[in-house]
């Protein structure tokens, strides 16, 4: 099979699956789940086959043309796309597999798997997109599938609200994204990725507004401040969905998109992006400390890690000394792309692993999500425990696990480019270790603290297999060598510390991990109350307030500003326009009409006066009195 055909197959298989499920399998959840999983398997297989097959290609086909404007659908398959597609394929397949077990008893299984298939299709669309309009189209579609899946338990008010919020906040980001694309279209005359690269290579200049507007899209999708509010709420969706969409792939699409348009970036834009990423990373990490819900902790962790990636991208280029053929070349490389994508990859593995692990826990605990009501699961669910531990180790940067390498790359980049950012990211790393260990400790150790936890049990093979698979990837994913040449173009951009830098970074990295993990181990014992809250209510309150303030602000805006403004405008419309003006004019006409009618007084004399006046007027006109 030609690579292009494989790509198309991988692209369309989930669409076909979604269509079949929607049309035929609505009431046959089981078949639907197998169909969808089969499609995911096709994607995974196709993605890996393509990635390691080595061939890179581009296809394009006109989709719409009006006047000079033409919009194409096209596949651009390079190393970056190959990497992303592989992540989507592998994690997607794992999540499908996991879902088979996790969602086995769900009444609306067909809808769920249909949604997953639509998601896979849309996500692959983003990956393949060879131009920004196409990327925008699939960008919106992943938003839709995210909406669909967050809203899976739609009878819960919180789920309904969360899905709505997710979609709308994403729309805000897309508002900027779309404007950025249109601006780019007029600035460069093209939105195709190759075209942009060509134009920029030829010396075209864009204002910072365009990359920043495009970044808005990433802010929405990758939940960067201040558009991050939707992601914690999105945990209302089924846990596998959180793993796939809200941890591993969709939220990473923003990073992927930024990497796609790296050529458009100008220094000012990068600075803004860097700071937004950095602040998000720290903020989210702080918020994570006080969370009780296992998924919420992971969600804030995801936010924090996404901030890391964005910051990495924003840190941008680095002059790299490159040794080749015995000579040292100094060249500037966009290593931000490498660092971001590298962290994206490893994060996809270990965060998906942890989410699926949490799913396993939740499943085992009969949908209890409060970590203070768990405990002792290391014995009840050993496999989950081990894999989850690997995930935690990876994220806190335990040496030689996946997260260690990618985090170090980012820290190194920050160290080289911006000390302040470096400091903040290092602090974030401390906090990350702290809250992850807290989570790990509370969930798995001690005695079960609730009825549910005491009856916890391991899920079936379909749930454990993905955990194992992802655990393996979380261990080895940081070694770029295992991927062979498949993603060489991306890996080439990973900043690698040398010499003294290497030592410093290594030291810092290990130090922050030890500090964070150690203090968590000291502070938290398995208990049903939060130790931090007990020991330092002020700090706990401040951290909680940090989280609450944004939600409160958001709610205030929605309920008080937006809704009241809408009511006001509505009032003006109903009362002033439709009421006073329109009805008023009608009333005036009506009154004049009543007046005219009242002139018919019924008296002959009055009528004769009309005749007299008429004749006199006409007479006066004829004799030239006017």
């Amino acid at each position: 099979m030609a690579p292009a055909s494989i790509a198309l197959l991988a692209f369309l298989a989930p669409l076909a699956s979604a269509a079949v499920i929607a049309l035929l399998l609505r009431r046959r959840g089981c078949i639907a789940s197998y169909v969808s999983s089969a499609a995911a398997a096709v994607v995974a297989a196709g993605a890996l086959a393509l990635a390691f097959g080595g061939e890179r290609f581009a296809l394009t086909h006109e989709w719409l043309r009006l006047g000079d404007f033409s919009l194409s659908i096209g596949l651009k398959y390079d190393d970056l796309a190959a990497l992303m597609l592989s992540i989507v394929g592998v994690v997607g397949f794992c999540v499908h597999l996991f879902s088979l077990g996790y969602m086995a008893d769900d009444a609306a299984k067909a809808r769920y798997f249909g949604g997953l298939s639509i998601f896979m299709f849309s996500m692959i669309g983003i990956v393949f997109a060879d131009n920004l309009f196409m990327m925008f189209i699939f960008w919106e579609l992943v938003g839709f599938s995210s909406y669909l899946l967050i809203n899976h338990y739609h009878e819960k008010q919180s789920a309904a609200d969360a899905s709505k919020k997710a979609f709308i906040v994403n729309r805000v980001g897309d508002f900027g994204f779309l404007l950025g694309i249109i601006g780019c279209y007029y600035a460069l005359g093209t939105v195709s990725l190759d075209g942009i690269a060509e134009k920029m290579g030829a010396g075209s200049v864009v204002t910072a507004a365009i990359p920043l507007l495009l970044f808005c899209g990433a802010m929405g999708k990758s939940a960067q401040m201040p558009l991050h509010v939707w992601l914690p709420d999105a945990m209302e969706g089924p846990t596998p969905v959180s793993a796939l969409i809200h941890a591993a792939t969709m939220v990473a699409a923003g990073i992927y998109m930024l990497c796609r348009i790296q050529v458009l970036m100008v220094p000012e834009a990068l600075t803004v992006i860097m700071w937004i990423g950095t602040v998000t990373a720290l903020y989210a990490a702080l918020c994570a400390i006080t969370q009780r819900d296992i998924k919420k902790v992971l969600a804030y962790s995801t936010l924090s890690q996404l901030g890391y990636m964005v910051a990495a991208f924003g840190l941008g280029s680095l002059a790299v000394e490159h040794s080749g053929e015995g000579m040292m070349h100094a060249m500037v490389l966009p290593v931000g792309v490498g660092a971001a994508m590298f962290h994206l990859t490893t994060h996809a593995f270990f965060k998906a692993l942890m989410f699926l692990g949490s799913g396993s826990v939740i499943h085992g605990c009969h949908h209890e999500q409060d970590i203070f009501k768990m405990g002792g699961l290391n014995k009840k669910m050993p496999l989950t425990f081990y894999t989850f531990t690997i995930g935690v180790a990876a994220i806190i940067g335990f040496p030689y696990l996946a997260g260690f390498f990618s985090k170090d790359a980012i820290l190194y980049l920050a160290f080289k480019n911006n000390t302040a950012v470096f400091a903040i990211l290092a602090l974030t790393a401390v906090i990350t270790s702290f809250y992850m260990v807290r989570l790990w400790r509370l969930v798995f150790f001690g005695e079960p603290r609730s009825e549910e936890a005491s009856h916890a049990h391991e899920g079936g093979l379909s749930m454990t297999l993905p955990l194992v698979l992802l655990a393996v990837l979380s261990i080895v994913g940081g070694y770029t060598a295992i991927y062979g040449n498949a993603f060489a173009e991306v890996w080439a951009l990973i900043p690698v510390a040398h010499g003294s830098d290497h030592t410093i970074i290594l030291a810092v990295s290990v130090a922050v991990m030890v500090i964070g993990a150690g203090s968590a181990l000291v502070l938290y014992k398995p208990a049903s109350t939060d130790a931090l809250e007990n020991k330092s209510p002020a700090l706990f309150g401040a951290l909680g307030g940090l989280k609450e303030s944004f939600d409160a602000g958001y709610n205030y805006y929605v309920a008080k500003v937006q809704q009241r403004f809408a009511m006001l405008v509505n009032f003006l419309e109903q009362i002033v326009l439709a009421g006073m003006i329109v009805r008023g004019l009608a009333a005036i006409v009506g009154l004049v009409g009543i007046g005219a009618r009242a002139l018919h007084v019924g008296s002959l004399h009055a009528y004769v006066y009309w005749f007299l006046l008429g004749s006199v007027l006409l007479w006066a006109f004829a004799t030239g009195a006017f």
Binding site: L66, I137, F144, H154, L179, I182, Q563, A566
Partner: protein, 510 residues
């Protein structure tokens, strides 16, 4: 000129009218309904068939062209029928929405169903005529033919405030129609051609454009006149009221298809024939459309509690994009508007249809008294969400293309307005999703529980599903294959719009 053995266009207009006449002359109810199926299906089938037969690149010229003398040939009035790339999409849309509305009406079991169907058939005939007419007189004529039944249907089968709504609608729409009629008469006379035939007028005016001042007044008249018909802010207040009161099928056909008359008139007639006038008015039109329709009405839509009013307002809001697209004075803008009209027609019809189905289950249109309906009626919920997402411009459904192309075109016209217009995507997402959530998701309200206890809700019946599915399939088809419409459209607009895109130079050259 007619190469068809049968004049299908005439047939598509005459069939529903003939069926309506037969019903009016006292056909028994049983046969009436059977015949009504024919009356609705024939135009739809013809429309789809002609779509498939439409040549690849006809330029601006009309295909399937036929002419009949109705007695005023010497005044330049003939019944000339034909389709070009601009009218084809709308003609097809009219056929499809008509079929859906008809099927929905037949199953509705309305009181005095025969008359209801008769009026709907008259409307359908008129609608097919509007988009198939080349002669401006008949274009206007068919519009009014379709309009009259709307008033009657609102008045008789309408809901809350039907009497006031019907009256207000009638007066507003008559005023709009009269003003645009004046504008059309002005074109007829001032062109010097003294004909209503669009083909002749185009040839004539391409060679000898009218003076700028004349163009200015004519476009102004058409803008206000057509604007009222399309609910241009602040002449829109009839629309939410009327749609709120209208019975579903009438609202479907009016909001979905008939309302497009004004936009179609601007694109097919006003822009090519009075380009300099259009250029003069472009900015005010765009500002009204964006600030008035998109933003102000957008916020008003957010504040609505009544589902049907909400849909009505959202329809008004979307018209703002259309005005913006028209103001761009470009192939891209106008093409975008046509795409949007088709998509909006399908989606708003779908929403009106479903809102009535919802009403039958909840006995109320008040969204605050609903909630959680999706648990009882998953298919209805899925359909409604599809319709909502279509109307807020989700890719994969037809509406996206129109909005996207309008935005792209608008940037060239005025980036600031474009930014404001694109902000509408957020606004529409807010009210669209909010309504879906209020109706279908979350726990059911107490009021709804009461209604459901007395009257358990069942999911959509097939007779409701089929019309909805027709619309959804059309939305998806165009969403995935926009070229099916954009190719003929592009071909016609490219041939027709050079003068529109360069009106300034044209005025100078005079």
């Amino acid at each position: 000129m007619n190469t068809q053995p049968v004049d299908l266009l005439l047939l598509s207009i005459a069939t529903p009218l003939a069926v309506a006449l037969a019903i009016a002359l006292g056909l028994p109810k049983r046969f009436s309904i059977k015949l009504a199926y024919v009356g609705f299906a024939v135009p739809a089938l013809i429309a789809v068939w002609l779509w498939s037969q439409f040549p690849g690149n006809p330029g601006e010229s009309y295909v399937f062209l036929t002419r009949y003398n109705t007695g005023l040939q010497d005044l330049g009035i003939t019944l000339a029928l034909g389709l070009n790339g601009i009218s084809l999409p709308l003609y097809v849309m009219a056929g499809i929405v008509g079929l859906a509305a008809g099927l929905y009406a037949i199953q509705s079991g309305a009181e005095r169903l025969k008359i209801y169907l008769m009026l709907l058939l008259v409307m359908q005939g008129g609608l097919m005529g509007v988009f198939a007419s080349i002669d401006i007189f008949f274009f206007y004529f068919f519009h009014e033919l379709a309009l009259i039944p709307t008033f009657i249907m609102v008045g008789i089968w309408g809901g809350r405030d039907r009497s006031y709504a019907a009256m207000k609608m009638t007066i507003y729409l008559t005023a709009g129609a009269m003003l645009s009629l004046l504008g059309l008469i002005a074109i007829y006379l001032k062109s010097g051609a003294e004909t209503f035939d669009m083909i002749t007028l185009r040839t004539e005016l391409m060679a000898n454009p009218m003076a700028f001042v004349t163009q200015k007044y004519i476009f102004g008249l058409l803008m206000v006149g057509f604007g009222t018909l399309v609910s241009l802010w602040p002449l829109h207040t009839w629309a939410p009221l009327g749609y709120g009161a209208a019975p579903s099928s009438a609202a479907m056909l009016h909001a979905g298809v008939l309302k497009k008359f004004g936009l179609y008139g601007l694109i097919q007639i006003a822009l090519p024939l009075v380009p300099a006038g259009a250029a003069h008015w472009a900015t005010p039109l765009a500002v009204l459309g964006v600030v008035g329709n998109v933003l102000i009405i957008g916020f008003i839509t957010i504040a609505q509690r009544d589902l049907k009013q909400m849909i009505g307002y959202s329809s008004v809001m979307h018209m703002g994009y259309a005005f913006l697209g028209i103001a761009c004075l470009s192939t891209l803008g106008a093409g975008g508007v046509v795409l949007m009209m088709v998509a909006h027609g399908l989606s708003v019809a779908l929403l009106f249809l479903l809102s009535t189905s919802i009403y039958h289950r909840t006995q109320t249109f008040d969204m605050t008294e609903m909630g959680g309906l999706a648990q009882k009626t998953p298919v209805l919920a899925a359909f409604f969400v599809t319709g909502t997402l279509a109307s807020i411009g989700l890719p994969g459904l037809a509406n996206f293309w129109g909005e996207l192309t309008i935005y792209v075109a608008a940037w060239k016209f005025n980036p600031t307005l474009t930014v404001l217009a694109v902000a509408g995507v957020v606004i529409s997402a807010i009210y669209g999703l909010r309504s879906a959530a209020k109706v279908f998701f979350g726990p059911p309200s107490d009021a709804l529980n009461g209604v459901l206890a007395a009257n358990p809700a069942t999911d959509l019946r097939w007779s409701e599903k089929i019309p909805a599915l027709i619309l959804i399939v059309a939305l998806l088809f165009i969403g995935f294959w926009p070229k099916s419409l954009s190719t003929p459209l592009d071909s016609a607009l490219r041939a027709l719009y050079p003068a529109v895109e360069a009106p300034a130079t044209q005025v100078v050259s005079r």
